[in-house]
Symmetry: C2
Subunit: 338 residues, 2 copies
């Protein structure tokens, strides 16, 4: 009696990577179904050496499904995923819709895998910028307790969707040719420019993206005393988000300790040899599944302060990889319980 897995949003930018990862990581599902919006239904997805037809997502899609991994717009998640739970499936959702629901665990497997136990059908995967931040903070928090984090992000176009990433290149072409630059996916020209707005404006001048980083971090660490303030900026990079992080811990941390802890931390790749010109950059990190950490320094303005720089592929560890990792943990339990 093997598991039946459904991939919702299988044809999107994140969904396609999920499908690849399920195959590459030999996900323990006997059957895998591929669901998407009507627009994409009927197209095919290559998986385990065969072409699979993508089915249209409907309220009746989940009969006989044990486990769902989903990457859709928030409103689609809100509408369909409760139906999957009702049909008896456990759902891993990559959208923002359920993340701050107190009954829904918000999970990064390297940080709080134990939270999965408390699920009531839905487990949420955090925002891309949050995931790479908490993976990097985890070894510091475990040993020295993180109290305050100030973070400035450098976020790639792909975080706004596949068409947005294409728009960056189209705009670059237009700008290089001296033509008028058209912005449809972004609120302004992104090519050769910076847009200090990711998401929409909400409370107290913060954007939705900034608030996600601030609130989701507390929920993932299950610690409302971790204070985060973020400034999120879209940069003309195709893929992989970067973050300049300033952190204050309860106990002081030396650069040597931090380096040692990062080196052993699951999901972290320490890449910090400035004398050899080594520090993480998006073009090198794109396509990988780890959070790359470099530029580690004592913050001379605070006795317990540390500064570092981290880069991760926002479509992979920031979305698809994290969701598949959660699904692997859930699948193991389902098989054991099976």
């Amino acid at each position: 009696m093997g598991l039946t897995l459904a991939v919702v949003g299988a044809t999107g930018a994140v969904g396609r990577i999920m499908v690849q990862l399920l195959e590459q990581r030999a996900f323990p599902a006997e059957r895998v179904r591929f669901l998407a919006s009507r627009r994409s239904a009927g197209s095919t997805v290559a998986f385990r050496g065969e072409q699979h037809v993508v089915e249209e997502l409907t309220p009746d899609s989940f009969h006989g499904v044990d486990l769902v991994v989903s990457s859709t717009p928030d409103e689609v998640a809100g509408q369909y995923l409760p139906l999957a739970v009702k049909a008896g499936a456990v759902v891993v959702d990559e959208s923002a819709y359920f993340r701050m629901d107190p009954s829904v665990p918000l999970v990064v497997p390297e940080v709080n895998p134990q939270a999965i136990e408390r699920h009531q059908g839905i487990i949420a995967s955090p925002n891309c910028s949050t995931i790479q931040l908490v993976v990097a903070l985890k070894p510091l928090h475990d040993r020295a307790r993180v109290k305050r984090v100030l973070v400035a992000t450098y976020q790639a176009a792909s975080g706004a969707g596949k068409r947005a990433a294409e728009e960056l290149f189209a705009q670059a072409h237009q700008a290089l040719r001296g033509e008028a630059v058209r912005a449809e996916e972004f609120p302004h020209q992104l090519a050769f420019n910076l847009i200090p707005q990711v998401g929409s404006f909400r409370d107290a001048g913060f954007t939705s993206e900034e608030l996600k980083m601030m609130r989701e971090t507390q929920k993932i660490f299950d610690d409302p005393t971790i204070q985060v303030c973020a400034t999120c900026v879209r940069v003309p990079v195709a893929n992989a988000h970067a973050e300049a992080v300033f952190v204050e811990t309860e106990r002081p941390v030396s650069v040597g300790e931090a380096r040692q802890w990062f080196e052993r931390a699951p999901g972290v790749r320490l890449f910090d040899d400035v004398e050899a010109g080594q520090y993480p950059m998006p073009i090198q990190v794109s396509g990988t599944d780890e959070v790359w950490v470099g530029r580690i320094r004592k913050d001379p303005t605070h006795p317990h302060g540390l500064a570092f720089w981290c880069v991760a592929d926002n479509l992979r560890k920031g979305a698809a990889t994290n969701a598949v990792q959660i699904a692997e943990l859930v699948a193991r339990k389902l098989v054991q319980a099976g």
Copy 2:
């Protein structure tokens, strides 16, 4: 008896803007001479409706010169500018060579014009990233005393020189065509990428650029208690640097107060209406002489914390404009002393 001004480095990226500004701002010099390295000597510079031949910079260039504005590599400044002082001129230097010399005032006219009085022949203009930071901090420091600043920069290619700015576009062309990307001016590909290194690596893992921001800020405010920690990043933007700033003040500052103070601050352009989608961006700020401030928020992680975003043209206010403003103050004194 009008003043004789010499522009050193008149053909460089900053020098050319200096020459334009001297004309546009009706600089009170009767005679202006244009000096440059041997390579550029003999070329011409348009000024006040005439073409002027650029002279080669030699040890004897400064006879009869009252005032010098200079933008050259550090070693050229170190070699020639003391000779100008010896010949009786007052020198405004845009290079880093003399900035931290205790006998040399480091001046941003909106912040510490009084420091000019103490000069002994040379007055230094600060680093581009520092200038925009201190212009923005000034109104906060005057009224609430700035204690600690954490800043992440987003620095344009033009800050690395004219050829570097051209290399960004050449790299973008190569990347869009799928060709191998060549990096000569930058240590790595900058197009569609981020390089978390500006300058060279120095003490404790910080780069020269980061240390400049930290040390020059204290010198300009004449206050060693202002603590600054910076992470400086090169971004694929042609011109105008941006900074995500987190500041802690002695007295708490509300967003309303900060906005009012920024609005009245000389050299600052408040551009902060997020509901109308208004925040400063490099493509809009490039070519202007002000420091644009937006995204002003209370930092919820600190009772006396404020977060904001500022953008300035690094070649203009970050270099040429600031040097010409200093020279104007010096010229006024020289004319008065007559």
